[in-house]
Amino acid sequence: MNPLLVLAAEEPAELVTSGFWVEWAGLILISPFVAFLLIVFFGKRMRYQGAEIAIGALAFNTVWATALFVLNMTRGVLYERTFEIARIGFLGGTRELVFELGWMVDGLSTMMYFLVSFVGLLVFIYAVGYMEGDVRVTWFFAAFSLFAGSMLVLVGAPNLVELIIGWEGVGLASYLLIGHYWEKKENSSAGMKAFYTNKLADVGLILGAIIVGVTLGTFSFSELSRVAAEGGSGLQTVASVAAALLFFGAMGKSAQFPLHIWLPDAMAGPTPVSALMHAATMVTGGVYLMARTFPLYQNLAEGVRPAMVVIGAITLFAVGLLALVQDDIKKVLAYSTVSQLGYMMTAVAAGGYTAGLFHLFTHAFFKALLFLGAGAVIHAVHSNNMSDMGGLRKYMPTTYWTFVVGSLALAGIFPFSGFWSKDEILATVGYEGYTFVMWVGIGGAFVTALYMMRAMALTFGGTYKGDGHPHEAPKVMTWPLIGLAVPAAFAGFLNIPGIEWPGIRNFTEWLAVRVVPMGDYHPKSVDVGLAAIGLGAALAGLAVGWWLFGRDASTQAERDRLEIPLLYPLFRKKYYIDDLALGLVWLIKAPFARAVLWINDYVIDGIVNGAGMLTRGLARFVYGGLDQRGVDLVVNGLAAATDAAGSGVRRWQSGRIQGYAASFVGGVVVLVLAVVIFR
């Protein structure tokens, strides 16, 4: 057993540090990989083309993860098991660097195990319906299993190296699944864009890991936490560098501004992929990493935290605005995801370990729910565009109601889960002294509510504008929606400040089960004033949204195209406040949001593309100009010189034997003379 665990003995006797469930927990890391292999080799021959294997593996994982989750709820679990995979000499053999694989079970990873397994299971079941008749169902489930496995490795990793393996594994799965329809070039390009952006960020992760590994002599999170908790004297500088690099890595995976650009494009993948990977789990990997290495930021690298908060704040607000002008429903949700990741990152960066993770937890449910709902709609109308939807409320009641639950949760409406988690973030950020950022967060809540209202209104409200007759999704798709709607609605009650549920403690305490205390802030009671402001912002967003898009079905389409000049005089006549609001909305929506979108598409994307083009150009220059002409010219020049010399000598090489014989005899004479003379 890990001696470090002694440190965590604040809760004596209760803590589960051994036993079947934790000692064999590694199985849940392995089972999806086994499923992957089975599907690849046998999937095609099976009734559901391999989906049953994937679902079986995830069901197994869900059972196991739930068991761990319940154990953690009631008593807390803390366990770590590693197997050495390499041991190499270091610093001339005076030290050793040990590489290990294994798994850890503590509050944080238990929560993640549960989240990945449970949401994953529902999404997998949903996908059976969604992917029916797809070109490669088998491969889809294989790659999806690969993702689930990699994600579990990521969250179960007891050290940075294993985390990197899982990290890039999910990146690979993301690449494969975004480019699932690789016959079309834009899809495979979207996959590549995701991979490149993440790979760029991984430079930070890998270098950060290297610095940690070299400095501490181990990659273990427990050791890192312990050293950080002790204050690691003299390590501040190196810790700050490492922390900044690790954060850069997290920015890529968790789509933080300005590295968020890949996520909207990633919607090219099938919708279940977007739901599980690009909303609920994979993109939270960066937040998870920040949480896992939280003591480093909390105790050693305080210097980088303000920068992290600022980036998180920009992400949550500026990127969230973009959702307002999207027609593709999945892109609305994608920008929304980026924005919510910004909340989580801001919270963790500001010191709100619990707050950020709580939002991660609730967000996983409601965002997966929203994506699956959007998927059901897309499945019904065969289009991603909201301009082809409308009025679906009456055709698809289950989808509609669950979508509403998800939207309200996302918007942060009391008493849905998003309200509680967002409120805790705002409270924590405010408490840590980032008052401005707190207000940005409140503004973000407003925007969130606004675009969700718009999405709901354009999709379900009004009249149907597409072709054919939409119909409710099959049961295999609606059941997972309901399964997600329940936690999306009620998960927030798990962590109401000041309320202790009998027997199971609350979320804050579950997450506090780590080898060292996190020392983060969690509010002791609900700050009613702040909660009211947050809720008000969200409600305002909803109201504005309703007023703009939902109010009148007939003019909805025009207004969404923002024919502001026509509307503007009308508003001024009615309410001056309305005029002001509309001006604000216009300001936000037309010049500002579009400018942000423009910056997004032209400047940031432009820089990426430009860098790509520049690289291509540079590559062409290096290859064509330097390599083929320069270096090769020297080489070929040498060859040519030799050639010329050869041509000169060649006259001697007449091919006539007698010429050779003459040279030979002459040579003998010369040699004899030489010997004689120089003797």
């Binding site: 007698q658 010429g659 003459a662 004479v669 004899v672 003379l673």
Partner: protein
Amino acid sequence: MTFEVWISEPVNWVFIVVALAVAGTAVKVVTSQNVVHAVLFLVATLAGTAALFLLLSAQFVAWVLILVYIGAVIVLFLFGIMITRAPTGRGVGLDNDRKGVALVVSSALFAVLTWASLSAFGTAELVDIGEGTPTEVLGRALLGRFVVPFEIVGFVLLAALIGGITIARRDATPADEEGRGG
């Protein structure tokens, strides 16, 4: 030994005559523009060489030279000339146009060789040549101490014989068959 002493020995008069003949005919061997003449001059050169061997009391080698070379090899050459239809008349360009180079090289070689001989042996005399080597000694040497090289040389001759036949044999080609048929 002075020149006077040397010239006073009658055997050296004989040498001078033979040597002049050998050298003269050898020059003709490499300069004659008539192929058959060149071969016949070589016969003369070889005969002169045989005479020199007799001067040195190497009777057996001398006779071998005459028998093998003049008797067999020269005949072979004549056959070769006839088969290859080498130009037998005069002035048909039997030599190439690099005589100058060849002359320089061979003169230089001659100079070097002569200089080497002179500086190595000076005026060392051949003393007591006597009756020469009896054939018995040669026979014992060949079949005693040198029996293995002797056998190998025999084998080489055999191989050359077979090789010569194989190389020079005309394989029956389709064209030949045709020619014969027609």
